[in-house]
Point group: C2
Chain length 407, copies 2
């Protein structure tokens, strides 16, 4: 990113020295393998556009079974994640569903059980919200074994989180439609994939901001995100946002499915476990500078990253460059939206000494990120979900960067 | 969209009758050509996702030279336009530009002329805004000759408008960097395409909300949108948002380029013309029901569409179903963002009589859309840009729909 040396004051104030003309090394067009674009007729319009051949963002897999893929956080700008780069997690692959054969049944403790086609769902007043979605297992390898996973990118460390504009019908509209009974305290959400994924959700979430989403970033939801319709629960762990949803059953207690008993509970020290830990806690990660970037020169550059919380808006991100000894407030980039990725930046001088960069986010409920040691003490080494501890990157004297344990 | 008959009250209130179980005709999976998805292993995660094979949104061309393509407005939900479906307009094709060879020169009436590489631009504090962009020629065929263009979709009538999250550096940051002199009143923006597109912009816009954008919907801007960087002027006509920008020159008067003298001026009756008519006026279009939809049954359905204004927020959209005799207020869908597509909806009973559907938007400055007759009187039949008159769709007794002249 940084080619010339610039001063901290210049970087902060945007004054003359911040970007010197000397830093602008313009390659002649022939050296880059492209012709002078003002001398050649350009390409025609296309039915569906493509990325520049110089941009190749890709999701990555951490397992050969390819039941998950991670968003390239370090390649993105702004807050929207392009739909084709949104992280994936599925338990029996991505089903192919003909929208004409799709239906959603809502039954159980309701006055009027009903089946809704996709066209039915689209006839109700829609809403559109920009929100993050995160897998509760995001960050498991660096929690479990940071020493063995030092050469990991932000995408590999934390790429099971993405942000979209989600479009659909509020679940409360459907609840009114079927007449949910006051005795109903929970609902079951069931998928039509080969795993028949099922989760129990408190009915309050249905009356609050839950949505049956059929749109994502302006178009139909993508197959790996639940085409043609999914449950979307802003701020709740990814697995509870049941994709390819075909059935909702209202009841007076949770259903104790496999995915909330055997899986998606958090083991605690002493053989206990916490269950129904839906809300994704406040979290952040520095996406630049980070592995595999090497800082080839001393001088100022901007530390950049994203922060998010399932409880509401991010109100503050603090940055440490000395491994947590001292902290300073980062700048938050507008727009700051509730339950949505929020960008932050902080000017930092790399003086050639080893440095440990950390980000610590705080949300509007006052929650803040614990250290790795604090979280491990609370949850034990065997926990499988909800790793929201402070992440660190170690910048070595030679400018190379690795994921750093936050001890 | 609508299969069963429903009452207006039910549609508005979301009560029991709005969507009847009887309307849910679920096709057995085998009839749709797909297998029961709960019985087959689904597909694996992919590096870059693809749309469902049941969804094939495409841009369309209105000219065989393919120097423009239109967004499929009738296929979209929410406010974001997927980047690969954003409308296109270029004057000498889409150039291929190596980001390593890219530079932006800012000079003329400045204290410190400078060249910025793409990396330089990305080091400044970024901003992200969700805004529409519209070609000033959008709607020209139906303005000029509505009778000859009755069988046109919303995409064909009005598809040269799209909305993105735009990410970049505020131009005022660069203006401070180079020290724009107080005598500077205009700036020239010059592209590095084969047309070397040039436009003069009032310097006030540079100090206001202009941006050098390098990101779109979370990722690098697409080639047809100006990769690797473009000028973005919220609310201004598309052609002034110079793509592939390579040079900005500050001066005390406009440069009178071809694209603001021979083109992009608005002829008026009496042989005069108005020039530098940058701001896109308040506008709207109904995207459902519209050609080629046929309403096969009487009954209630929702009229839906989008409204936008280059002057600020949409505050009101009125709907007429009787060709402008009477008007009623539509519901605006949140979020309502300044200089951004805003969705509206209105419940309507198709009783089998011919009907003429119209939408009329009003923005926060109090501007509203004129009728076709009013606009033609003001501008004459030969005008080439800024067609913001009220659009109409005629629903015939047989339920077929055509673009309707608003006389």
């Amino acid at each position: 990113m940084s080619k010339g040396k610039i001063s901290r004051r210049a970087l902060l104030a945007g004054t003359a020295a911040a970007v010197s003309a000397a830093s602008a090394k313009i390659l002649p067009a022939q050296e880059s393998g492209t012709k002078d674009p003002t001398k050649v007729q350009g390409g025609p319009a296309k039915e569906v556009g493509e990325r520049s051949r110089f941009e190749k963002p890709k999701r990555t897999y951490f397992s050969p079974t390819r039941q998950a893929s991670n968003t390239p956080l370090q390649d993105l700008e702004g807050i929207i994640t392009p739909a084709d780069l949104h992280f994936e997690r599925h338990h029996a692959g991505i089903p192919e569903i003909d929208p004409e054969s799709y239906s959603l049944l809502i039954h159980g403790m309701v006055e009027r059980p009903r089946m809704f086609t996709l066209a039915d769902l689209k006839r109700f007043p829609a809403e559109a919200v920009t929100r993050f979605l995160e897998c509760s297992g995001n960050g498991f390898r660096t929690y479990r074994n940071p020493e063995a996973n030092k050469e990991e990118t932000p995408q590999q460390v934390e790429g099971l989180t993405s942000t979209s504009e989600w479009i659909g019908v509020p679940l409360k509209t459907l609840f009114k439609e079927v007449g949910v009974l006051p005795e109903a305290k929970w609902f079951l959400a069931e998928a039509m994939d080969a795993a028949v994924m099922t989760r129990s959700i408190p009915v309050e979430k249905g009356w609050d901001d839950a949505m049956i989403a059929y749109g994502q970033n302006g178009e139909a939801i993508r197959p790996e995100q639940g085409y043609p319709a999914r449950l979307f629960l802003p701020g709740f762990e990814g697995s509870s946002n049941v994709k390819w949803i075909r059935r909702i059953e209202l009841a007076d207690k949770p259903f104790m499915t496999r995915e909330e008993t055997s899986k998606y509970t958090d083991p605690l020290p002493g053989g206990k476990a916490r269950q129904f830990s839906f809300v994704m806690d406040v979290k952040s990660i520095i996406t630049y500078p980070a592995y595999p970037v090497t800082l080839t020169e001393k001088g100022f550059r901007e530390i950049k990253g994203i922060a998010w919380s399932g409880r509401g808006k991010i109100v503050r991100v603090d940055i440490s460059t000395d491994g947590g000894e001292s902290w300073n407030k980062a700048t938050l980039q507008e727009p700051v939206i509730s339950k949505c990725h929020t960008r932050f930046r902080f000017a930092w001088d790399f003086n050639g000494a080893q440095a440990t960069l950390m980000s610590r986010a705080t949300d509007e409920t006052g929650q803040t990120q614990p250290t790795h040691v604090e979280l491990k003490k609370l949850r034990g080494p065997g926990t499988s979900y909800h790793y929201n501890h402070i992440r660190a990157w170690t910048v070595r004297q030679d400018g190379s960067i690795v994921f750093g344990e936050n001890a």
